[in-house]
C-alpha cells in the first residue's frame, strides 16, 4: 500500500513538474508573441503597408498635408485609415474618446493646479490638445456632414486621379482573373498596348530612337480617343478630312488631322450632327500644342511626356518664321514658276497647244493658288504673335504650313525657352526629358559642323563633278534619279551619274544651251556646295549651300542660264570642252534635316468660319510634300534671277537633253525594238476597261491576284505605296500631267521590268519601275511572261502577288515606301 501511494505521489509530482514547465514555456511564448506584435505594430507605424484588396475602392481621405498624412491616419494607434461607413464611424468614435480623455486630463490638471488662473489653464489645455487630431476630426466630421469644403482644387484632382487609378487596376485584375481564354486576354493587352504606343517615339534601353514619333498620328489618336469617350462621335471622326500622312488609316477619308491642327471652328468642321461642347472646342487647340511640342520628348512606354507650354509658345514660333514669306520673295517665286510654265506650254511662236488646254488650265490654276496661299501664310507669319496667339492656331497649324517639322520643333522650343517669360516662370516644371533632348541636339549640331565638309573643287571646277559624286555616294538619291542597276557596279553607276549630272546641269540652267556654265570661284572653294534636292513630285532643284547649311541660291528645273550669276562665288565659264580632272576630290555636304518645307497647293474649304479661319482653312494642304517620319525634307528658298534672253543656239559636242517630262506611252516606250532585238513590241494585254478574266490566266497562275483579296495590312501597304508614287486623287501630284497608275497597270510586268527608264520617262513611272524591281527582289518572284496560250502577268497582278508572298515571309516592312 505504501509503495502504491508513493508511486501515486511520484506521478503527481512529475505531473506538476511537467505542468510547471509547460506553463513556463507558454508564458515565454506569450511574451515572445507580445513582443513580436509590439514590434510589428511599431514597424507598421514606421513603414506603412500598402492598401489591402478590400480597402481599395473606398474613398480616401485627403488632408491638406502631404501624402504621408494618409499613412499616419491609417496606421495610427486608433487604426484610422480608410473610410467606409463602418470604419469611418469607428474613426470618429475613437477620436471622440480621445478628445474626452484629453478634456478629462485637462480638467484634472486644472483642479490640482488651482493657483493658475482660468485663462491660463484653458490656454494650456488648448495647447495640449493634439492639433493633428483636431484637424483630422474636423475633416472627418465635415466629410460625413458635407459641411467641410475641400481644401483646394488640387485635392480634388488627386482624388479623381486615385479613382481612375483604382478603376484601371480593377479592370486589369478583372481581365487577368476573368474567364476569357489566354489568347483573347493577350489580344486585348496587345490592342491596348499598340494603341497607347501609336504615334509615340520609341527608344531602346540605350536611349537610341528605334521608332520615330509622328505628329499626325498623335493627332489622329487624339481624335479617336475623344470619340472613344464619346466627346465626339466615331462617325464624325470618319467624315473628317483625310490624314494622308504617315498612316493608311481608313478611319478618316480627308485630312482630319490637318483640320484639327487649325483648332478653330472644329464644331463646324465635324459633319453628321456631332456636337462639341464649348469647353472642348477651346481645349482642343491647346491640346494640339501639347501634342505637337511635347511628344517630341516622349520616351519608351508611352505617355505624352509633354512640356507644359501655353499659347505664348505660339508667338515665338511665329516670330521665328517671320519674314519667311515676304511679298518680294513670293513674287520672285511666282515669276519663276510662270516662266517655267510658259516654257512648258507655249510653242515657239507663243501659242498654247490647244490639245493640252485642260492641262494648261490646271497647271496655271495651281500656280495661282500656290502663291495665293503663300501670301496668306506670309501675312499670318509676318504679323507675328498677335495673329497666331489671337487665333489660337496651334503649333500643328504652323507645322501644316511647312514651317515646322518634326525635326526642327526642338529649335523652336529652344528659342522659346530663351525669351518666353511665361515659360521662364514655369521653367522648373519643364520635363527634364525635354532638357535632355535639347542637350542631345546641341551635341548633334556640334558633330554636324565637324562633319560638314564642302565640295572641294579644283579652281574652275564644275558643278557637274559634284553632282556625279553626290549620285555615286548616295544610293537613295541615285535611285530617285532613275538608277535601277546594280549599286555595286561602279562602272554602270558612274556612266549613269555622268549622264544624269549633265542632264541636271542643263535642266536647271547651270549649263547653257551654247556651252556656258556657272562654276564655283575661288571664294566658293571649300565653302559652298551645289546640293541636289529631289522633291516628292520629282522636281529637281540645286541649292548652293554654305557650310552652315544656309542656301545662297536655288536653281530650278526649267531655269535658263543667266549671265547675271552670283558674283560672290561664281563666274561664267565659257568653254565647250569640260576639263576632266580625275584627281579632284569632292566631299558631299550631308543632308540637313533642319530644313523647312515649302507650302504647296492647298484646297479651299467652304466652311462658315471667320475670315481668318477661312484663310487658315485655305491652307489645308493635301498636296504638300509633307515630311514623312523617315524621309528627308526638301527645301525651297531662293534667289531668283531675272530672265535673260539667250544667245543664238550653237552646235555643241554634248547631247541636248529635254527637261520636260514626257508622258509614258506604253506603245512607244515599251517593247522598243532597239531594246530587245528581234522581239516584237508588246502592247497592253487588254483594254483597261475590260477586266482580266480567269481564263486569261488559266494555267499561268493558280488564281486571280487582285488587291481586294489582300488582307488588311498588306492591302494598306499596297494602296499607300501607289499613293506615294502617283499621289492620292485630289493631290497635285496626282493631277500633274496624266501619269496615273491606271494607264500602265495592265501592261506586262516582265516587259516593264526589262526596259531601262530613260530621261523621257515621268518621275512617277521611274519610281514605279524601281518599286516593282524592289518587289521582285524582296519576294524572290519573277513576273510570268506571255506564253503561246496565255497573256503575261500584268504589273498590278505581279505587285499583288509579290506583296502576298512578302507578307507570308514577314518582310512587309522592307517594301514600305
Amino acid at each position: 500500500m505504501a509503495s502504491k501511494n508513493e508511486k501515486i505521489n511520484k506521478l503527481e509530482a512529475e505531473r506538476v513538474e511537467k505542468q510547471k514547465k509547460l506553463d513556463e514555456k507558454l508564458a515565454l511564448l506569450n511574451e515572445m508573441n507580445a513582443k513580436k506584435a509590439e514590434a510589428e505594430t511599431a514597424q507598421k507605424i514606421k513603414n506603412p503597408e500598402p492598401l489591402n484588396e478590400e480597402d481599395k475602392g473606398i474613398p480616401l481621405f485627403v488632408s491638406k498635408d502631404t501624402k504621408q498624412q494618409l499613412f499616419d491616419l491609417r496606421y495610427s494607434k486608433e487604426d484610422i485609415a480608410l473610410m467606409n461607413g463602418e470604419q469611418a464611424q469607428k474613426i470618429v468614435n475613437n477620436l471622440i474618446i480621445k478628445k474626452t480623455n484629453l478634456d478629462a486630463t485637462t480638467k484634472t490638471q486644472s483642479k490640482t493646479e488651482d493657483k493658475k488662473d482660468l485663462a491660463t489653464l484653458k490656454l494650456e489645455s488648448k495647447n495640449i490638445e493634439d492639433k493633428k487630431v483636431k484637424s483630422l476630426r474636423e475633416k472627418i466630421f465635415g466629410f460625413f456632414n458635407g459641411k467641410e469644403k475641400k481644401e483646394s482644387p488640387h485635392e480634388e484632382e488627386i482624388i479623381r486621379d486615385m479613382h481612375l487609378q483604382r478603376i484601371e487596376e480593377s479592370r486589369k485584375k478583372e481581365l487577368e482573373n476573368g474567364p476569357l481564354s489566354a489568347r483573347i486576354k493577350n489580344g486585348v493587352l496587345k490592342g491596348i498596348n499598340a494603341w497607347e504606343k501609336f504615334g509615340i517615339e520609341e527608344k531602346d534601353q540605350e536611349g537610341k530612337v528605334i521608332k520615330k514619333g509622328s505628329f499626325w498620328k498623335r493627332m489622329t489618336k487624339m481624335g479617336v480617343n475623344m470619340a472613344l469617350i464619346s466627346l465626339i462621335s466615331m462617325g464624325a471622326v470618319e467624315k473628317l478630312a483625310q490624314n494622308n500622312i504617315g498612316t493608311a488609316t481608313a478611319l478618316t477619308s480627308t485630312s482630319f488631322a490637318k483640320r484639327m491642327s487649325f483648332g478653330l471652328g472644329v464644331g463646324t468642321l465635324i459633319e453628321g450632327g456631332g456636337k462639341i461642347s464649348p469647353k472642348l472646342k477651346k481645349w482642343i487647340p491647346l491640346a494640339i500644342t501639347g501634342i505637337g511640342i511635347g511628344a517630341a520628348f516622349a520616351l519608351t512606354g508611352g505617355g505624352a511626356g509633354a512640356v507644359a507650354i501655353g499659347s505664348s509658345a505660339l508667338g515665338f514660333a511665329a516670330t521665328k518664321f517671320k519674314g519667311i514669306y515676304t511679298e518680294e520673295k513670293i513674287l520672285k517665286k511666282e515669276n519663276a514658276a510662270k516662266n517655267a510654265f510658259q516654257k512648258k506650254f507655249l510653242s515657239k511662236d507663243g501659242k498654247i497647244d490647244t490639245s493640252r488646254i485642260s492641262e494648261v488650265e490646271k497647271e496655271y490654276e495651281k500656280i495661282l493658288k500656290k502663291y495665293e496661299n503663300m501670301r496668306i501664310w506670309g501675312k499670318l507669319l509676318n504679323e507675328g504673335t498677335k495673329v497666331l496667339t489671337g487665333s489660337a492656331v496651334a503649333f500643328g497649324a504652323l507645322e501644316a504650313s511647312g514651317a515646322i517639322t518634326d525635326h526642327n520643333r526642338q529649335v523652336v522650343l529652344e528659342e522659346q525657352h530663351k525669351v518666353d517669360e511665361a515659360a521662364a516662370e514655369r521653367k522648373t516644371e519643364v520635363d527634364t526629358r525635354a532638357n535632355d533632348v535639347l542637350k542631345a541636339r546641341s551635341e548633334f549640331e556640334k558633330l554636324r559642323h565637324e562633319e560638314f565638309k564642302t565640295v572641294v573643287i579644283d579652281k574652275g571646277g564644275s558643278n557637274e563633278r559634284s553632282f556625279i559624286h553626290q549620285i555615286e555616294s548616295n544610293q537613295e538619291k541615285a535611285i530617285k534619279l532613275g538608277y535601277n542597276g546594280d549599286w555595286n557596279d561602279k562602272k554602270a553607276l558612274h556612266e549613269f551619274a555622268g549622264i544624269k549630272a549633265d542632264q541636271i546641269a542643263r535642266d536647271t540652267g547651270i549649263v547653257g544651251e551654247n556651252g556656258e556654265q556657272e562654276r564655283m570661284g575661288e571664294l566658293a572653294i571649300g565653302k559652298i556646295a551645289p546640293i541636289i534636292r529631289i522633291e516628292n513630285n520629282g522636281d529637281i532643284t540645286i541649292e548652293d549651300t554654305d557650310i552652315n547649311g544656309k542656301v545662297l541660291e536655288v536653281h530650278h528645273s526649267g531655269d535658263r542660264f543667266s549671265e547675271n550669276i552670283n558674283k560672290e562665288y561664281e563666274y561664267n565659264y565659257k568653254n565647250e570642252t569640260e576639263p576632266v580632272n580625275e584627281d579632284v576630290k569632292v566631299t558631299i555636304v550631308p543632308e540637313d534635316p533642319n530644313k523647312n518645307i515649302e507650302v504647296t497647293d492647298l484646297k479651299h474649304e467652304d466652311t462658315p468660319l471667320t475670315t481668318q479661319d477661312q484663310n487658315l482653312m485655305k491652307l489645308r494642304d493635301e498636296d504638300k510634300p509633307f515630311v514623312d517620319d523617315n524621309k528627308n525634307s526638301t527645301v525651297v528658298t531662293e534667289k531668283v534671277e531675272p530672265e535673260k534672253t539667250s544667245e543664238p543656239l550653237k552646235e555643241t559636242s554634248k547631247p541636248k537633253v529635254e527637261p520636260e517630262y514626257k508622258i509614258y506611252d506604253p506603245k512607244n516606250d515599251l517593247g522598243n525594238q532597239t531594246d530587245r532585238d528581234g522581239e516584237p513590241s508588246t502592247e497592253p494585254i487588254h483594254n483597261k476597261n475590260e477586266p482580266i478574266t480567269e481564263s486569261d490566266l488559266k494555267g499561268t497562275l493558280e488564281r486571280m491576284y487582285t488587291q481586294d483579296n489582300l488582307s488588311t495590312v498588306p492591302k494598306a501597304i499596297y494602296h499607300d505605296n501607289l499613293n506615294h508614287i502617283f499621289g492620292t486623287p485630289g493631290e497635285a501630284k496626282h493631277d500633274y500631267s496624266l501619269n496615273t497608275y491606271s494607264k500602265v497597270e495592265n501592261n506586262p510586268a516582265n516587259n516593264f521590268l526589262e526596259i531601262k527608264p530613260n530621261g523621257k520617262w515621268a518621275p512617277a513611272y521611274r519610281e514605279l519601275h524601281s518599286y516593282v524591281h524592289k518587289l521582285e527582289e524582296v519576294s524572290g518572284l519573277k513576273p510570268i511572261p506571255q506564253t503561246d496560250t496565255h497573256h503575261a502577268e500584268t504589273i498590278n497582278q505581279f505587285i499583288v502577288r509579290a506583296i502576298e508572298k512578302i507578307e507570308q515571309t514577314n518582310n512587309l516592312d522592307k517594301i514600305k515606301l
Binding site: G57, P59, F143, E156, E157, I159, R160, H163, L164, I167, E168, R171, G178, L180, I184, G187, V188, K190, G191, I192, A194, W195, E196, K211, K221, M222, V224, N225, M226, A227, L228, I229, S230, L231, S233, M234, T247, A248, T249, A250, S277, K279, L280, K282, W283, A287, G290, I291, G294, G303, A304, G305, A306, A308, I309, D431, S711, T712, V713, A716
Partner: protein, 100 residues
Amino acid sequence: MDKIKKDLFDLFQIDKLPIEKGIETLDRLASLVFQAVLVRTLPLLSEEELTEYEKITDSGEADLLFKFLREKFPEFETIIQEEAENLRAELAGEFDTTGI
C-alpha cells in the same frame, strides 16, 4: 435636386488641368473604354479574324484596329458609347461618394 449629367471631360475637368495632364487623362480614359470594347468584341471573332487582328496589332498601324473592328461589328459605335457610359457612370458615382 436634379444633377446635370456630366461627361467624362467635365467629370475630370480636363480643360482645367495642365495640358499634358489633360492629354494623359484623356488617353487613360480612352484606354479604359477601348479595353472594355475589346473584351466584348474579341471573343466574338472567328479564328481567322482573330489572327488578322493579331497581325494588325503587330503592324504598328494601330489605327487600322478601329477600321477592322468597324468592319466586323456594325454596332461598333454603339458598343463604344455603352462602354463609355459605363465608365462615366462608375466614375460619377464614386465622385459623388467622395463629395467632389
